[in-house]
């Protein structure tokens, strides 16, 4: 029965080529131009999934992004993607898909027992049932719910594909390629404006694809657009969000229609589009009617059945009933009749209309003032029940394997609403239309209630031309709108036929009764009702039933639908894959990596690397014979204590502060004084925040009267730079100071240990580095091994030490010279771990102590708060809470049991217990001298 429901001719499928695919293990065939849904229908597949909560059998309900039911797991292995809408999946050869959300087979799902439990599974069921006992939540309830809930399964494997990111600017962005969109793009493009036309479908044309009589007009427009050099067509691209200032987001499915992406091509591409003007031509979504059994396989939106017949050449049923509330839906009956189906009846709540008359003329059994009140059939309907509009109870049964329904059309106002435009109620269409624009956007065609291809094309052309003119372009090109009749979309306001289980949200299994329950229990605001019932959530976001649920709520509240309104529209209009959003920012590209100019040197020495913010820093340098990493670290630290060590300190932040007011500026940003610092000297400085807590520390040197060289910690280099720039610009704009970050321009090497001077003396040219000529805290520009350099006599380890800064390109040269000169003295490179050990032993503070919660007093640096003159943080540093003498203070710690190392973060308690006396902030198990950890403990506590 291969493609038993495929028509012999017509539509946009290429019958000359066949594509094989598998669904739940069955091998089937379709054609290019099919979606997975149209191909399944062509093969007579009706049951495609199980519902979210009650595990009810479900079939294909729509022909587009609004699909609530036909969610499948697409592809296999690492490419398996759950919850993919079969109605938008472009068929390719070798496609593999599986139905989801059933235990056992799709036809017999053990979880369907939930349907029998339905009376107890109403809205808010979780909140009411899984309350007690509290201890059961984590161990029993949550695992149970997690197993039962959800839909498809993620692959659980790393994604083998990659994703692209694009940024685009344009004068006019047109969203949608129906009659309105094509005309808008053509009119805008004719002015020479840069136009992007984005269409989520793989074929351009929107509803024109369902109109064989308008095919020539569609082709003419496509040819005209293709000839425009400044126009970019983006098929398979969903514009999912309209953000501030004319920024829109879009997802382009570059290779989703292929088994796997071609080499070097991304699977999808994330577009950030900045548009001067936007034309929204997004069309509409047909809405359902809530009636008992409206979710069974075989119930389908009328427009969808029409699309399958006209565009895909598929007859979705043989015995068909149309249940419609407006004239425009009647074309579906004619389309499916042309496709060879028998129309059992047309059920309409209205008295009479032009379309009803036409249908009678065509010989159809039109049942006026009637509604569908039930459906029967397990894996697919075989009959429906019709009763009088104002009646109750059981009606007359009619045989049907396809029930086409239409409760009217909702203009797709999602993007307009996201752009900030209010929504305005339209009584005729019983729906909401976009109101006055807030941003530079305009809607055209069906998405603002202008229906019919001729009217929509004219509306689109006007909008496109107006948008181009608003973007600064002129000129126009006359082209004809298509000749087409204007269907009447005004529905009889029927949202619900009361009786049994009538679904307002088919994907989330929300019934009209659930909405009423939410109202009775106080969740009467449309946003509250949404969250209480899960109405209008999920992949379809209530596109088919959102307004129906709101109408049921309005009736329960005894208010009109206009007042009740809809839940707020937010991105995304359609689901977007995480991979697309991440783009290429994954793995090593998640964030930039900063590397020292000495990276190659450290690699040659076999360094073990560790991350310090974005930086890679050597942690230690393993050597043959080291028993473990701590032996390496101890060896490196011992070299510094006993002989000499060399360390890359290039990552420290460096800021040039220059200008006539530089000293005044530094006096204000540091808690201590720099205006008294002589040229050629460095000073340790402490920076506070405005709230009085310590921000950062470092040494600052005076290179010349008006030139200072500030260093910061590695971690705070960026924040300190911003802090200085911000205060200079906003607090003291009168100061004549310039700031430049020079972190990357200067590399820096520390040479520390008793023999450091001998090593430095051997490589420095023309500078006396004796203690008398170059004392502690001296600074001088000089040459080192022939390279321009700046020498500092500063120490972070407590040993005699020098730091040599040089332009980054000379770093490897200077390092090599220092290693050569130090060879005779037993020089050893040391990494971040040994540096930490040495500074803990010395009592210097670093990141764990400068954590944004400590004061200068806490750190034993209270003497650095100058008494004279203002500085950032002075006023608040005197707050009572910050000068409380009982605040925990920095102390050195030594364990009594050498076999039991501390852990950073461990709390200190007295032997035998009791309250915490403080905690360990930094520790090192690799003791050289006496101190093994730093901690903060309350004053007077035993530590």
């Amino acid at each position: 029965m291969s493609q038993s429901r495929r028509l012999a001719a017509g539509g946009h499928v290429d019958r000359a080529r066949s594509l094989s695919f598998r669904f739940d293990g069955r091998s089937l065939e379709g054609h290019p131009g099919d979606t997975l849904a149209s191909a399944l229908l062509a093969n007579g597949v009706r049951l495609v999934g199980r519902s979210f909560k009650y595990h009810r059998p479900r079939g294909i309900f729509s022909a587009g992004v609004e699909e609530p039911n036909a969610l499948v797991e697409l592809r296999e292995g690492a490419r398996r993607e759950p919850n993919t809408r079969a109605t938008v999946v472009e068929l390719f050869d070798g496609l593999v898909a599986a139905s989801q959300n059933h235990r056992g087979s799709l036809a017999f799902d053990w979880m369907a027992v939930n349907g029998l439990l339905a009376p107890w599974l109403g809205a808010g069921f979780y909140y009411k049932t899984f309350m007690w006992p509290a201890a059961f939540w984590e161990r029993v309830y949550e695992p149970l719910i997690r197993r039962a809930a959800g839909l498809g399964r993620a692959s659980g494997l790393p994604d083998p594909d990659h994703y692209g990111t694009m940024h685009a600017h344009c004068d006019v962005l047109v969203v949608g390629s129906g009659a309105a969109g094509l005309a808008a793009a053509r009119a805008a493009g004719a002015t020479g404006a840069r136009v992007i036309l984005a269409e989520q479908d793989f074929m351009l044309g929107g509803d024109l694809l369902n109109e064989p009589g308008l095919e020539d007009w569609r082709r003419e427009q496509l040819a005209a657009l293709a000839a425009m050099p400044e126009l970019r067509l983006l098929p398979r691209t969903t514009v999912f969000g309209f953000y501030d200032h004319g920024v829109l987001g879009a997802a382009e499915r570059v290779a989703d229609h292929l088994p796997e992406p071609p080499p070097h091509a991304p699977r999808q591409r994330f577009w950030t589009i900045r548009a001067k003007e936007v034309v929204l031509a997004t069309g509409g979504h047909e809405r359902l009617v809530a009636f008992p059994g409206n979710d069974r396989p075989g119930v389908m939106l009328a427009g969808a059945a029409r699309t399958y017949a006209r565009r895909h050449g598929v007859r979705a049923g043989d015995a068909v009933v149309l249940f419609a509330t407006h004239d425009a839906a009647y074309d579906a009956a004619f389309a499916i009749a042309e496709a060879g189906a028998a129309i059992s009846a047309i059920v309409d709540p209205r008295e009479d209309s032009a379309a009803m008359q036409r249908a009678r003329d065509a010989g159809f059994d039109v049942r006026a003032r009637s509604v569908v009140s039930d459906t029967t059939g397990r894996a697919g309907i075989h009959a429906i029940e019709v009763r009088a509009r104002d009646g109750a109870g059981r009606g007359v049964a009619l045989p049907a394997d396809l029930l086409m329904i239409s409760g009217g059309w909702n203009p797709a106002v999602h993007l307009a609403s996201m752009s900030g435009a209010p929504l305005a109620w339209n009584e005729e269409l019983q729906s909401f239309l976009p109101g006055a624009p807030v941003q530079r956007e305009r809607s055209a065609g069906a998405c603002r209630g202008v229906n019919g291809h001729a009217a929509a094309a004219a509306d689109g052309a006007d909008a496109g031309r107006a948008a181009a003119i608003a973007a600064g372009f002129a000129g126009a090109e006359a082209f004809a709108a298509p000749a087409a009749p204007a269907p009447d979309h005004r529905p009889w306001p029927l949202f619900e036929v009361k009786g049994g289980k009538a679904f307002v949200d088919i994907q989330d299994d929300v019934t009209a009764d659930d909405i009423r329950l939410a109202h009775r229990e106080g969740f009467s605001h449309v946003e509250h009702a949404k969250r209480y019932t899960t109405h209008a959530m999920g992949t379809d976001q209530g596109k088919t039933g959102g307004i129906v649920g709101a109408a049921v709520l309005a009736e329960a509240r005894d208010e009109n639908l206009e007042k009740v309104g809809l839940p707020r529209f937010r991105p995304y209009t359609s689901p977007v894959a995480w991979g697309t959003m991440a783009g290429d920012g994954v793995g090593a590209h998640f964030q930039p990596t900063r590397r020292s100019p000495l990276q190659a040197v450290h690699d040659a020495l076999g360094a073990t690397w560790m991350d310090a913010g974005l930086w890679k820093r050597p942690a230690w340098y393993p050597k043959a014979g080291d028993a473990n990493l701590w032996a390496s670290i101890r060896r490196e630290a011992r070299a510094v204590r006993e002989r000499v060590g060399i360390c890359d300190v290039s990552t420290l932040g460096k800021i040039a502060v220059e200008g006539p007011d530089a000293a005044t500026f530094l006096d204000r940003v540091y808690s201590n004084t720099f205006s008294t610092l002589p040229v050629g000297r460095a000073r340790y400085g402490l920076m506070l925040r405005d709230d009085g807590l310590v921000f950062d520390d470092g040494t600052t040197s005076r290179i010349a009267e008006h030139r200072f060289f500030v260093t910061t910690t590695t971690a705070q280099a960026g924040p300190v730079m911003q802090h200085l720039e911000f205060h200079l610009a906003t607090a003291w704009p009168e100061l004549d100071v310039s700031l430049a970050s020079v972190t990357d321009q200067w590399a820096a090497i520390a040479i520390a240990g008793p023999r450091a001077r001998a090593v430095v003396a051997a490589i420095v040219d023309g500078l006396d580095v004796s203690n008398e000529a170059f004392p502690f805290m001296a600074v001088a520009d000089c040459r080192v091994a022939g390279a321009p350099a700046r020498l500092f006599r500063i120490s972070f380890s407590g040993e005699l030490a020098f730091e040599i800064a040089m332009p980054a390109g000379f770093a490897a040269h200077v390092w090599a010279a220092a290693m050569a000169a130090g060879a005779a003295h037993g020089i050893e490179p040391y990494g971040l771990e040994a540096l930490g050990l040495l500074r803990i032993e010395k009592g210097h503070v670093a990141g764990p102590e400068l954590n944004g919660q400590t004061t200068a007093h806490d750190l034993g640096l209270g003497r650095m708060l100058k008494k004279k003159g203002d500085f950032i943080g002075r006023a608040m540093a005197l707050r009572p809470g910050l000068v409380d003498p009982s605040r925990p203070r920095l102390v050195g710690l030594r364990g009594v049991d050498p076999g039991r190392p501390f852990r950073a973060g461990a709390h200190l308690v007295a032997p035998g217990g009791g309250p915490s006396q403080g905690w360990v902030t930094s520790m090192t198990p690799a003791r050289i001298s006496s101190r093994r950890a730093a901690g903060r403990a309350r004053a007077g506590s035993p530590a």
Binding site: H245, D690, Q722, A729, T730, A731, A875, M876, L878
Partner: protein, 91 residues
């Protein structure tokens, strides 16, 4: 995403900027007292409508900008370089 028209660089994405807080509060003098500093540091109006903010063009020219923004519509109608250097306003 906001687009901020930097007087030096032209219209740029919000992602290039670092928000630096409310520009309507006035930094107290050195001897204003703890209460005034507490207000300045911790108390903020939450206006529904127009407000003025500091934005640092951190991935651009590094200027600190004073930006007038509407908190409901996110409309930005004036951008100036902090410190009021002449010829740098864009209204």
């Amino acid at each position: 995403m906001l687009r901020i028209d930097c007087p030096h660089c032209g219209p740029r994405d919000e992602a290039e900027f670092t928000y630096r807080g409310d520009a309507t509060v006035v930094r107290p003098g050195p001897d204003a007292g703890i209460e005034a500093w507490d207000d300045y540091l911790h108390l903020r109006d939450n206006p529904r409508g127009w407000t003025v903010e500091w934005w640092l063009h951190s991935a651009g020219c590094r200027a600190v900008l004073k930006v007038r923004r509407h908190t409901v519509t996110h409309q930005v109608d004036a951008v100036a370089v902090a410190g009021g250097r002449p010829g740098t306003d864009r209204a």
